[in-house]
């Protein structure tokens, strides 16, 4: 089980802030493919992953990062703090 979180317009497109999913995906990219194949709203949110950032267990990471032992994944657009 893995907690998947969405922020900003990714959250709005998918329509929820967080979900817990059962997955056999080995990497973040595999998980993205799995989510995209689920429903149109996921396909829309992940249409261009170059426009997205990912955090693995609350650390900025890459789409080729492995999911083994990971508890929390978050997808969001580039950050706009300050």
């Amino acid at each position: 089980m893995i907690d998947v979180m969405y922020f900003a317009w990714v959250r709005e497109r998918i329509g929820l802030p967080k979900e817990t999913i059962e997955t056999r995906a080995e990497t973040v990219a595999d998980l993205v493919e799995e989510l995209k194949s689920r429903e149109e709203r996921y396909a829309m949110a992940f249409a261009d992953v170059s426009a997205l950032r990912v955090a693995v267990d609350q650390e900025l990471s890459d789409f080729d990062a492995p999911l083994s032992g990971v508890r929390e994944i978050a997808f969001f657009p580039p950050m706009t703090g300050g």
């Binding site: 922020f7 900003a8 978050a74 950050m79 703090g81 300050g82």
Partner: protein, 147 residues
């Protein structure tokens, strides 16, 4: 070092007056304050800031740690708000105290450059016409290369 992520407004004067007062070796204190501005064509009525509770505090702490390793600092303060704000409201502040001003100035700029694109905050502008997420700027990403 103090990192605060909060919804409430902060008192800039009180924060600065109380900052690094126990460090008599610090001869320089630099502050930066970010304020909600209205650059939209229509009237900006609200700026909404979303963040990632848990990761936000960690990311800001890591950025402040990097600054403390790189410059000789007596103290660092970062306050960043989230939630709904109006034009003119203070969004965030950083303060750095150091023996000499060069360290204090450079560390404050470094903190600002990094927290703009490496701390998980997202701004949304809400106007009379609707709402729009603020896009990140290529120049903000490019600003990191100078460090």
């Amino acid at each position: 070092m103090t990192i605060r992520v909060q919804q409430d407004a902060f008192d800039l004067g009180a924060e600065v007056a109380g900052f690094a007062t126990d460090r008599k070796d610090a001869g320089a204190l630099v502050t930066f304050t970010g304020i909600v501005r209205d650059l939209t064509d229509t009237d900006l009525t609200v700026m909404e800031i979303e963040h990632y509770p848990g990761m936000t505090e960690k990311a800001l702490g890591a950025i402040a740690d990097q600054a403390a390793k790189r410059w000789s600092l007596a103290d660092v303060l970062v306050i960043h708000r989230y939630g709904r704000m109006s034009p003119g409201d203070r969004i965030m502040m950083v303060a750095t105290a150091a023996k000499h001003r060069k360290d204090a100035f450079e560390a404050a700029e470094f903190l600002m450059d990094y927290l703009k694109s490496r701390a998980p905050f997202w701004k949304k502008e809400i106007t009379s016409d609707g709402s729009e997420w603020v896009n990140s700027k290529a120049e903000d990403e490019a600003a990191l290369t100078r460090w």
